[in-house]
Amino acid sequence: MNMKGSLPLLILHVLGNGPAHGYRIAALIKAQSEGVLDFKEGTLYPTLHSLEQQGMIESYRELENGRERRYYRLMAAGQASLSAERAEWEEYASAVNTILRGLA
């Protein structure tokens, strides 16, 4: 399913549960959507870097199994954006569902 546009929201949501590196973020999005939200994982990184430029998240390096990895964590601005975007998304989805149910 095409998820263009909702990827930043999903990334912020995943990072709301704790820091993670790129692969884990992709894996969690796929797992939590039970495979419905499938996407090319290479597209994740420009989005992560953009969110970092905006101050929504920050990155740091940490060793994992002897390998240095770049982890991302949510910042205060990201938390605020997540709350606002989540409310907006729920309102949008609710409106679309109402229309679809009415036309069925």
């Binding site: 990827l7 930043p8 590196h21 790129g22 692969y23 992709a26 090319k40 994982e41 290479g42 597209t43 994740l44 990184y45 420009p46 989005t47 870097h49 953009s50 969110l51 430029q53 905006q54 990155s59 740091y60 390998r67 990895r69 770049r70």
Partner: protein
């Protein structure tokens, strides 16, 4: 363990990106690939299939290269910025040395408009909506707006009077101004100088907060950004009060630190280039 296929994929995907961005992207994508590869092996796939599955999960390299180009400044723009950065003080120095000759006047006018040409060239990037609405950094906005504010009044002066007619651009001062339009042009250009100075100060301050070491050149780049900002600011204040004792040294400080900044950032560029070769 990386494969030749991954190396080729990374080269295609990161083609044309600024070296530092490409190096970071390649390192993260390599880690991602290795995780996916290990997971595929745990799932019971053989090595060749695991490699192919991990690579396919990343996506089409050419399509991603297009997406990356929209997110990051391209290497071409980066090189152009370095050329403009080098040419400006060189042309300026040449014009001062040969002030009375035609070549000196030509060099002076070219030096005045070079930054504006750079802005016009980069207009597409400036106006481009970056993915997910990522805004320009404040220092970028200040420097770009400042360059336009400094250059456009000069352009008007040049078109109307066949010389820049801007107080800070020649030996003239605000006391020589004899019309409201000239005062307005000078005021805009002066405001532009302050904006550029503020932009350089923010750039230096931001460099200090960067987590990466900028390939061992973090402090020189930050200090030069700050010195250039202070130099430009003092020069602008000196111009405002027509204080040649302040104006001359401040101008020299700003130009010298600007030139040295270009040298330092070129070194960062080449060091990053070396790192990306290692990653590949």
């Amino acid at each position: 363990m990386t494969s030749p296929d991954l190396t080729c994929w990374l080269k295609t995907a990161a083609h044309g990106l600024p070296t530092a961005a490409a190096a970071r992207l390649c390192a993260e994508l390599t880690d991602h690939y290795l995780d996916a590869y290990e997971y595929a092996l745990e799932e019971g796939l053989d090595e060749a299939t695991a490699r192919r599955t991990a690579l396919e999960a990343l996506g089409n390299a050419r399509a991603l290269a297009n997406e990356y180009q929209h997110t990051y400044h391209t290497r071409r723009r980066y090189r152009l910025a370095a050329v403009v950065g080098m040419s400006y003080p060189l042309l300026y120095g040449f014009s001062v040395s040969f002030n009375e000759s035609v070549a000196g006047h030509l060099a002076f006018n070219l030096a005045l408009f070079l930054p504006l040409l750079y802005i016009v060239y980069g207009f597409k990037t400036l106006l481009a909506v970056r993915p997910h609405g990522a805004p320009l950094y404040i220092y970028e906005q200040l420097i770009h707006t400042g360059i336009v504010a400094v250059s456009v009044p000069r352009l008007f002066g040049w078109v109307i009077y066949h010389r820049p007619l801007i107080a800070e651009a020649t030996t003239r001062s605000f006391s020589d101004i004899h019309s409201f339009s000239e005062l307005l042009m000078n005021a805009i250009a002066l405001l532009g100088l302050f904006l550029i100075a503020g932009g350089f100060l923010l750039l230096g301050e931001r460099a200090l907060r960067v987590r990466e070491s900028l390939y061992g050149l973090l402090k020189p780049s930050a200090v030069l950004g700050l010195v250039c900002g202070v130099g430009l600011g003092v020069y602008a204040i000196g111009t405002l009060g027509n204080n040649t004792l302040v104006r001359g040294p401040a101008e020299a400080l700003a130009v010298m630190s600007g030139m040295l900044s270009v040298v330092v950032w070129s070194m960062i560029f080449f060091r990053a280039q070396g790192e990306i070769r290692q990653v590949a």
